[in-house]
Subunit: 335 residues, 2 copies
Amino acid sequence: MSGSSLASWNDGTSKRSILDFIRRVTTAGSPGFVPAPERIAVFDNDGTLWCEQPVIQLAHIMQRWQEMARQDPALRDQQPWKAAVDKDMTWFRTAITEHYGGDESDMPTLAKGVLSAFEGLTTEEFATSVAAFFRTESHPSLKRLYRDCGYAPMVELLRLLDAHGFTNYIVSGGGRDFIRQIAGDIYGIPPERVVGTSTVLAFRAQGDGGDLLMQAKLDVFDDGAAKPARLWSRIGMRPLLAAGNSNGDIPMLQFANQPPRLALRLLVLHDDATREFDYTSGAEKALALAKQYGWTVVSMRNDWKTVFASHPETIFTRDRETDYGDETVQGRHQA
Amino acid sequence: MSGSSLASWNDGTSKRSILDFIRRVTTAGSPGFVPAPERIAVFDNDGTLWCEQPVIQLAHIMQRWQEMARQDPALRDQQPWKAAVDKDMTWFRTAITEHYGGDESDMPTLAKGVLSAFEGLTTEEFATSVAAFFRTESHPSLKRLYRDCGYAPMVELLRLLDAHGFTNYIVSGGGRDFIRQIAGDIYGIPPERVVGTSTVLAFRAQGDGGDLLMQAKLDVFDDGAAKPARLWSRIGMRPLLAAGNSNGDIPMLQFANQPPRLALRLLVLHDDATREFDYTSGAEKALALAKQYGWTVVSMRNDWKTVFASHPETIFTRDRETDYGDETVQGRHQA
């Protein structure tokens, strides 16, 4: 296992923990050996694989709310349409931070807006909308395309795990069908390995065929205790490695522990105001448990040489030019 | 594509439809060509891949009900424990046949018994119970181990599809975590490709770890319109081939139709009282749609040379002896 395989990581405890763990579970004959089909690695997405300040999916929903408010001006006086039209990010950030801290006061309003935004679209129409969003939209302060907001060191880790017989999954509080449109390009993770929050889908039969229509009703909010349950639903196994960054990832990290098997738990700590952001809000309990039980805390400031790939070529990509055409190349050069 | 790859199938319209379809979607440059990642094939399980008279999972649950009634004699006067103790299969068969016909009068009683049977077990404890069941239990009239009740022609079809770049999934009204324990051995389908009915799982954190506990509450009854929604939830794609045998499979078969792409819809017709069973109850609407839209109806009597494998070696198996040890070999020789 070449050290250069985690080239964007500084030498230190985190990098050594990861490399040591991979070596122990993949070395045949070693007491920690785990057969390849059981080498399941699960990753939270927002704040773990890409940045979450602000939550990227929100930008896609805001586009839609602005469009809805143009069509129906009465919506401009109601949240969350009002905040979308006014580009009032503070309202959204507060609602989400409150949620992770246990205060759900703004969550019903936000949830209602989120759920009704795409009501009645087919799953294919929604996918088309998301794909168009990722072709053009950029992060407001990082000044890079959203699809270039993945953390280079985490993408390297995904590739390293993949090369060592692991199967990588995303288990996210974000939207399953949203992340599926981009997870292949950024992370090399195919749609069937993306688990996330979902709305109810209703089947509408039409003659010899039929469609699934998005309903304005929550199916599963894939956070907290829902994460291990949804992972089990998907694969019928526990993970061997689990990575997250907030309190909502705690049960998933606990679920990876199945003695006497080894387990690696990673918690990404956002402590880099210069290159990304510096916050622990909503991660307090997770950080306390990490300290108590020796989970590996990954400091963005200290453990990562780079946060985002300066050369997009280094990001794991699957026929990216083919997918996006010339626009992509141009967009990347500007970023 | 050698004709011998479907050696248990008689030459006829069904076999020709299947082989022709596979040839068209896998031949590069052909107008019907579909890239391998999109070659998704979904199969109902009960009555499509193995026999459903009686429903095999019911035998496992009955074992449990008998055990519960031994521990609490008051249960002997209540359904479904009473029917389990009396081995009254008619009561169960009627409830299920009624359900497929649209009459739900016995379903709440049956569902309550099913849901409470394994309440409080961890997912791993349930898996252990199911694995033990499949090691020893046999079909009452077919006189073969339940794990040898897979249809040999359908297993051949799964292998043929697998050899042609398809990815096979089970989407069943039966229990997801039940089928997962046997789908690898019989069908070569790994746990992560089994979708089915599920109970709510509750996460119980304990220190640095935690377990998922089965609750006496239905999560999803994976039948009818739930089937396409659950498949989308799992993989984010439509199937290219869908196979079923009852009215509950109609939406899944409709969902496979995505013009201008080709689609193959298979409906297994139980018309073989000599070698298996003869019934169309609960399949009336599906058979009418098959006739109306030209879906391929597979007649067990006319299309299949054999129903069950006379030599278990011909069944697709993954380290079967390794999994089950000497008991298995002995069991198979007796079967």
